[in-house]
Symmetry: C2
Subunit: 147 residues, 2 copies
Amino acid sequence: MIRISTKGKYGARLMVQLAINYGNGPMLLKDIAEKENLSVRYLEHLIPPLKSARLIHSIRGARGGYTLAKTPVEITLKDIIRALEGPLSPSECVESPEVCDRSGFCITRDIWVELEKTISATLAMHTLADLVQKYLSTTYYGEARSQ
Amino acid sequence: MIRISTKGKYGARLMVQLAINYGNGPMLLKDIAEKENLSVRYLEHLIPPLKSARLIHSIRGARGGYTLAKTPVEITLKDIIRALEGPLSPSECVESPEVCDRSGFCITRDIWVELEKTISATLAMHTLADLVQKYLSTTYYGEARSQ
DNA sequence: ACTATTCCTACCAAACAAGTGGGAATTTAA
DNA sequence: TTAAATTCCCACTTGTTTGGTAGGAATAGT
C-alpha cells in the first residue's frame, strides 16, 4: 500500500480550516477538531511538524490558538504533506542514492525519480487558497451543512 | 512516508529480469535472485500476487521456472505495482467513498483522487519493453558489469 | 529413485500507525 | 493573585505492516 497516513490527511484538513479562518485571528484547535470531526488529542501531534516547517504560527495561553504563517496563496498541499509525511519520493534511493550501490545504473530507480516529480508537481499545483475557493463554491451547490 | 515497499521495488526488478530473458524459456528464481542480489526466499513471496494478476506464468518441477505471461510491451509498471502493492490511491476513500461520510463533499479527497490519476498515468507510461531497452542502452555506456 | 524446482504455511522481530492520557508552561482576565 | 483557557511536551498502548527466515509438501524431469 502506498498511502498517505492520517497525519497527512488530517493535517490537510486542519490547514484548510486555518485557511478558511485566515484573517480572523487565532483559531482554537478545539474548534478545528469540532469542524472536522477529529480528536483534539490527535491533531496536537500535527502541530510540531507544521510549526517547524513554518506553515503555522501559534499563540499560547488563554485566547491563544493557531494561524497560518503565510497567506493561503503561499501554502501548497506539497508543503503540508512534505511537512507531515516526510519525503514525497516512493523510495529512499531517490533522495539518498548512496543507500543502494545500484543507484548509478538502476533503471527502476529512474522510474521512482520520475514518480516523485509527478507527485510533487501535482501537490504543488494546489494552494490553500484554491481549496478554500473550491470549498466555498461547493457549499453553495452542495447539501446544507451545519458548519 | 509515502513509500513503495520492497515488494513493489523488488518485484519490478524481478519482472525486468524476466523481460530481459523473454523468449529464452523459463527462468529460475535462483538466477533472478542472483542477478538482482536478492534473497530467493523473499522473492518467493512476490510470485503469488504476480501470478494472480496474470503477469507471470510458472512451470513447476525440475527444469521449471518463470516466464512473463504476456509480451514485455503489454506489461507496464502500473500492472506490476498494482499487483504487489494494491491500490495506487493515496487514500482508501478514493476507491471506496463509503468509508467516509465526507466523501461527497470533501475537498481534500478531490486532491487524492487527482493524485491517484497522475501516479497511475506515470506508471502506466512505462512498459517492461521500455525498461529493457533502456537497460541495454545504458549497459553500453555504463561501467562494465558481470551480469 | 533422485534431484531440481515451485509452492504453501507458519513464524518472527522491528518499525510504524493511530490514538489516549497526564500534566507542565504560558497567557489572559476577573 | 487566582482561576481559566490554551498550547506544549512526554509517555504509553494497541494493532498492523514490513521485511524477512524456515520447513517441508507437491510436482516434474532424468
